[in-house]
């Protein structure tokens, strides 16, 4: 009889370890001046350094070091007074140098922590996740395996390599062993990655998009019988590319390992791949022949020795902690936990805050960004904030509040701005999108509507106010939807002797 998750955690204690890789958002690569821009033609952003050509000499990107130190400070780490790069030697075509420049025993940041909050049966509870290290390295190239039935590497006839991504700055954040979570291991893992993502976003050091691979998580997990005090053999699950998947991967591995242990089978120390569809993992490369990367200090790069003044300058630029900021904004805007979560998850918190600070009403700012603009962004499969600026949205909202635009017209203005029609004011001028608020112009349309539907008008005069809807509709139609419906209603009822 196979154990389910609840049965598994009733018998076994899970121990977690999380490794998160983050692509930094620098303009140029880690050790050369090639662009990091996504989506270029293959092998158009390479040079002798990132192609590993003989004699090429790397130089570190200063901005990447700053970003790494900022990450360490935000995670309560000590910044190493002396730090060095190391060569991680392995022979695989995704790294044309035959090594990855990384850090080994002298990482830039060590010994931090991150407190996360989860919901338990006894209410909200805080867990401290300790951070072992934050180190700098570089991303690898992209392989395309051609031939074979599955598109996977087995059975592939050959591989095609694009090195545009090779050398993009990566930061790896490694936790210490996270124990004592009991059955809450999946929630703790997810809360940690979520909080980490929010912190990195607030630092503006990465665009932290898990779906697009700029933030990737490896989940290490082992089980031991409850009360044994022992540590089991761990598996490392890669390819976990969403917050939900982090949680599911932990559940999947707990169940898999518990059932192996139940039947007396051994847990193999290995890399496993997360399967998005089933929430299970499948074995990857076995690590039983122990990794042998033959690390040694990188002779082409000089040590990084951050002085304390520099560190303090960086520390002074640390933004408000995301958890504290979220609480503050939620109070200021008076919104529900759920709406707050959608703003955060959509990555719209900053832009909504900016829109409001430019004078827009908070409720309208939220609804425009989460609603219409997100919808248009979805259609175009782009980021909402790439479509329109906070100041343009604030301008549109202020025009709505001034009664110069209806919601319907405002949507047309926003669409116009997004289509490249210029500023809201320019779009309004070009397309003639102004509310018809001139009473005399509206009265002409109202009288025409009454003349066309005399029976309806009589019913309204007789006290059937809802019947006015047909007349208001006719006026709106006659004015091309540009009239303010509330204004039309007010004028119409007054004209028919039913005004307040």
């Amino acid at each position: 009889m196979a154990l389910n998750y609840d049965q598994a955690v009733a018998k076994y204690e899970p121990t977690l370890g999380l490794e998160v890789h983050v692509e930094l958002n620098t303009h140029s690569k880690m050790f050369c001046s090639c662009s990091t821009e996504f989506g270029a033609e293959p092998n158009t952003q390479t040079c002798p350094v990132c192609l590993g050509l003989p004699g090429a000499l790397p130089v570190v990107n200063g901005k990447a070091i700053e970003s790494s130190i900022l990450i360490g400070l935000a995670l309560n780490c000590s910044i190493a007074p002396f730090s060095r790069f190391a060569r991680k030697n392995y022979f695989y075509p995704d790294m044309p140098k035959n090594f990855q420049t990384s850090q080994y025993d002298e990482p830039i940041c060590v010994n931090g922590y991150l407190d996360v909050e989860i919901e338990t049966d006894e209410g909200a509870k805080q867990f401290r996740v300790e951070i072992e290290r934050v180190h700098m390295e570089e991303d690898t190239g992209k392989s395309l395996h051609v031939g074979g039935a599955t598109g996977r590497i087995h059975g592939a006839d050959y591989s095609l390599l694009d090195y545009n991504r090779a050398g993009i700055p990566l930061v790896e954040i490694v936790t210490k062993i996270v124990g004592g979570t009991g059955k809450y291991a999946p929630q703790v893992a997810r809360a940690y990655v979520t909080e980490l993502r929010d912190i990195l976003r607030s630092l503006q050091v990465s665009d932290v998009k898990m779906e697009q691979g700029s933030m990737r998580c490896d989940v290490n997990l082992s089980l031991a019988p409850i009360g044994s005090g022992a540590l089991g053999t761990r598996s490392e699950t890669k390819n976990v590319n969403s917050l939900r998947s982090v949680e599911r991967a932990v559940v999947g591995e707990v169940v898999r390992q518990a059932n192996r242990l139940e039947t007396g089978e051994r847990i193999v120390q290995e890399t496993r791949h997360f399967l998005e569809e089933s929430g299970q993992t499948r074995p990857g490369r076995s690590k039983e022949q122990a990794e042998d990367y033959r690390y040694f200090p990188e002779p082409d790069l000089v040590p990084v020795v951050p002085n304390s003044e520099w560190i303090e300058v960086l520390r002074a630029t640390l933004p408000e902690k995301p958890s504290i900021r979220r609480k503050r904004l939620q109070d200021e805007w008076n919104v529900s936990d759920k709406e707050m979560a959608s703003l955060v998850n959509a990555g719209l918190l900053n832009v909504v805050e900016a829109t409001i600070s430019l004078g827009a009403d908070p409720a309208r700012a939220r609804s425009w960004w989460l609603g219409e603009i997100s919808r248009l962004a979805n259609e175009k499969e782009v980021d909402p904030i790439s479509l329109i600026s906070a100041s343009q949205v604030a301008e549109v909202i202020q025009l709505i509040e001034a009664g110069e635009l209806t919601d319907k017209l405002a949507r047309q203005v926003v669409e116009g701005v997004i289509a490249g029609g210029g500023t809201p004011v320019q779009v309004i001028a070009q397309r003639g999108l102004k509310v018809v608020s001139d009473d005399s112009a509206l009265m002409i349309a109202i009288e025409a509507a009454i003349a066309a539907q005399p029976d309806t008008a009589d019913r309204v005069r007789g006290g059937n106010i809802p019947a006015a809807g047909a007349l208001i509709g006719a006026v709106m139609k006659a004015t091309g939807g540009q009239a303010d419906a509330a204004k039309v209603r007010e004028l119409l009822l007054k004209h028919l002797g039913k005004g307040e």
Partner: protein, 98 residues
């Protein structure tokens, strides 16, 4: 006691994906042992007061501004490749790895 065994050399050859014959392994193990022996003598000279060094010049914090400069063209990048397809480097299939 040799500084490097024949098994060590076989292991390194495997990591580097270099196919070596039995004769080559025997030959190389001996040669490498001589080289390592020579380096070991140099190591004896360094006292406890000499820290291990990774760079010949005692200089720290050499960094670049985060500025993009022109890269090679695709054609230039691929010019030394033994094989290419679709603007990419073409390499033989890789066995036994994910």
């Amino acid at each position: 006691m040799a500084a490097i065994s024949r098994d060590d050399v076989a292991h390194l050859a495997k990591l580097a994906r270099i196919e070596m014959s039995e004769a080559e392994l025997d030959h190389l193990a001996k040669e490498l042992d001589v080289i390592l022996g020579a380096v070991a003598r140099v190591q004896e000279v360094a006292g406890a007061d000499v820290p291990p060094t990774s760079h010949p010049i005692p200089v720290n914090n050499v960094v670049r501004e985060d500025v993009v400069r022109p890269s090679l063209t695709q054609q230039e990048a691929l010019s030394g490749a033994p094989a290419q397809a679709d603007g990419r480097f073409k390499v033989p299939q890789i066995l036994g790895e994910e």
